[in-house]
């Protein structure tokens, strides 16, 4: 046999012995490089074909033909694996996460990311929350009203500065979405918004009745900053009750000040249940420290704004409970 014939035979043996798994590609490359070094005249190169959705890889060996040109060598061992199984894909290929019955594809996740609020939560948690809501609306095939669709579209466009048709079409082009896909996408958002609104309305009254104190209107002042600066200003906070808030303009050190009236549930945690005149803190808060004082507190009323706030809190708690019970599986590999 010619030297080239022997090299082909040896190359086929090399290919049959390489580990056909993505995790072992580096090892395969090292083995092939050693083989190439033993056959310097052939300028051997290993081609690795990493198939999507499976750990299985394929190899080719490119060799310079002594008579000119290139010879490509491919070899598949007889390992007893049926053909379709060798070419199968992982059940979750192309999927990012499974939450209960919802399988979220990578493409769907990328689309979803455009509508995440990114408020008070990580993208991971918010993606899971969105999947939970998709689970809830899965059986909801009723029509979405034009008003709901318009509201969802307006909110989405406002959030991205798409104030006119031209800007929206340019954005769709940039994102690779057709107008029809955008319509379906907004329809999905509208359906989820509608579910959330219904759920909030359903849960709000009971939540308000269960703990009305969470919806007291509380006027409070709080400061955040380095521990020393926050601690140093505690006497100012303690003197606020009955003396007005003018002293807050004279605080020492690097602190940020907030004076606001909020529902108790929306205040920083140390102030939520505090009575007027109470100073709370300092406590660790967002990388620094927080201290505050309650200036006034009005008992919760059974009005529309309060019920809406109770609905929002109840929905957040309901979602947290659903998340706790959900089967969540991320498909990273």
């Amino acid at each position: 046999m010619s030297d080239f014939g022997s090299a082909l035979e040896s190359g086929a043996r090399l290919l049959r012995g390489l580990p056909r798994r993505r995790a072992h590609v580096a090892q395969a490359r090292r083995t092939a490089a050693a083989w190439a070094a033993d056959h310097p005249g052939l300028q051997a190169q290993l081609v690795v074909d990493e198939r999507p959705g499976t750990p299985v890889v394929d190899f080719d060996l490119l060799l310079s033909d002594p008579e000119g040109g290139t010879v490509a060598l491919s070899a598949q061992a007889e390992d007893g694996v049926p053909w379709l199984i060798d070419h199968s894909t992982h059940w979750a290929a192309g999927q990012l996460v499974t939450v209960d019955e919802v399988h979220l594809s990578v493409a769907q996740a990328l689309t979803m990311i455009r509508s995440l609020s990114r408020r008070d939560t990580t993208p991971h948690d918010e993606i899971v929350d969105q999947c939970l809501i998709i689970n809830e609306v899965a059986g909801d095939d009723g029509p979405v009203s034009d008003e709901e669709l318009q509201a969802a579209a307006d909110e989405f466009r406002r959030g991205r500065g798409l104030h006119d048709r031209a800007a929206t079409l340019a954005w769709l082009t940039e994102m690779g979405m057709t107008p029809g896909q955008f319509e379906d996408y907004i329809g999905g958002i509208a359906r989820r918004r509608s579910f959330r609104r219904r759920k909030e309305a359903e849960l709000g009254p009971a939540r308000l009745a269960a703990r009305p104190g969470d919806f007291d209107r509380v006027r409070a002042a709080w400061i955040t900053g380095p521990e020393g600066d926050v601690t140093g200003n505690l006497p100012v906070l303690a003197a606020l009750h009955g003396a007005g808030t003018a002293a807050l303009a004279e605080l020492d050190g690097e602190v940020e000040t907030v004076i606001a009236e909020r529902f108790a549930a929306d205040l920083p945690a140390p102030l939520r249940e505090a009575g007027p005149g109470t100073v709370a803190g300092p406590v660790p808060h967002g990388g620094g420290f927080l201290a505050g004082a309650v200036l006034g507190r009005t008992a919760a009323r059974d009005d529309e704004r309060t019920l809406a706030a109770a609905g929002r809190v109840a929905f957040t708690e309901w979602l947290a409970e659903r998340r706790r019970r959900a089967a969540v599986e991320w498909h990273w590999s």
Partner: protein, 351 residues
């Protein structure tokens, strides 16, 4: 009385149950996977007749009362956990299956889609493809084979646009992880492992160009067609079972009258009262037959394309003995016996 045989987590049953309740039907939902561990079945012969009673644990059901059976996704019989020796478990399953098959055969009911053996035969792709071709469906040039020598000629005949599919779905793992075989569009790379074909047969077909894919649901005489437009989805365009719902459009589709009749005829000719037929509408306006699944999914046809399949199933089940007209007033004969020759043949029953 309507008997539903299916897993207790079956969403499709959940969709139909309210419709049955609205029609005043008496329904028992039982999973044969509960048998013999929890359920009890007794077939007693005496005085030239027989009586078969199923005790589900929640109720006792005389099978003579059952007029319609919806065989959805029942689990195989399972022995009690206390039966631990593997050969004992196999033995118990074998005995249980025989008794169940016999009991279902003797129940004077009509079945959706059919009894087990009829469904198994109809599900066989070679059998139903032959039937479809005989009925005039346009069937793509198709090869079922485990001969490695057939691969390259099929690839060349298809002009390099060849797909491979499995003959029957089943579970398997690769490196310990669950894998699936979807419709695989072949490249030249696939030819290099042709020897692997010898280990199990596959289906080879030219890639049929799509305007849309169609899932046609047949319930008795009623036909519902949903079109699935996956052309905008990179993941689902070759196989909609990848379910890329943000990019796949579903809609009701009007079939030509002759094709609609042929779908119903194909289903009935296979001994079925229900079938999920997959077709492709080509850009040239031709309809190509792919397969029929005797218990194929229809939930998305209803939810995404707005077609009232659950109502049709409920209507079909209720129509078995006119429950809608005299729902709860029908006399119940707990002691009725039925001669063995009352057995209803599945095919005759729905014709």
């Amino acid at each position: 009385m309507i008997l539903i045989l299916s897993d207790r987590r079956d969403d499709a049953v959940e969709l139909v149950l309210p419709k049955l309740e609205r029609r005043g039907a008496r329904v028992t939902w039982w999973d044969p996977g509960d048998f013999p561990a929890r359920g009890r079945l007794t077939a007693a012969f005496a005085d030239g007749g027989h009586r078969i009673v199923l005790d589900t644990g929640a109720e006792r059901l005389d099978l003579a009362e059952v007029r319609a059976v919806w065989r959805r996704r029942p689990n195989a019989p399972r022995p009690a956990e206390t039966v631990t020796e593997p050969s004992h478990r196999r033995h118990a399953v074998w005995q249980a299956e025989f008794l169940l098959d016999g009991a279902w055969e003797l129940a004077p009911a009509r079945w959706l889609p059919s009894r087990r053996e009829v469904e198994r035969r109809a599900h066989n792709k070679i059998i139903h493809m032959a039937r479809a071709a005989a009925l005039g469906f346009r069937v793509p040039e198709t090869v079922y084979t485990n001969d490695p020598a057939e691969l390259v000629p099929a690839y060349e005949r298809a002009g390099g646009n060849l797909i491979a599919k499995q003959i029957n779905s089943d579970e398997f793992t690769l490196d310990g992880a669950d894998h699936r075989t979807y419709t695989t569009v072949l490249g030249r790379r696939h030819l290099t492992s042709r020897h692997r074909l010898q280990h199990e047969p596959v289906i080879l077909q030219p890639y049929v160009p799509k305007a849309v894919e169609l899932r046609v649901i047949v319930v008795g005489e009623r036909v519902f067609a949903a079109e699935i437009d996956a052309r905008d989805s990179r993941t689902a365009r070759d196989d909609w079972r990848h379910y890329d719902d943000d990019r796949v459009r579903y809609a009701a589709h009007r079939l030509p009258d002759g094709l609609e009749r042929a779908c119903a005829e194909l289903t009935a000719s296979l001994g079925l009262t229900y079938g999920a037929i997959d077709l492709i509408l080509t850009p040239d306006g031709e309809y190509a037959f792919l397969e029929i699944n005797p218990n194929g999914a229809w939930g998305f046809v209803e939810q995404r394309a707005g077609l009232p399949v659950s109502d049709a199933i409920a209507d079909w089940l209720v129509a078995a003995d006119g429950i809608a007209e005299h729902a709860m007033s029908a006399p119940v004969n707990d002691t009725a016996t039925h001669p063995a020759n009352d057995t209803v043949d599945g095919k005759t029953d729905h014709e």
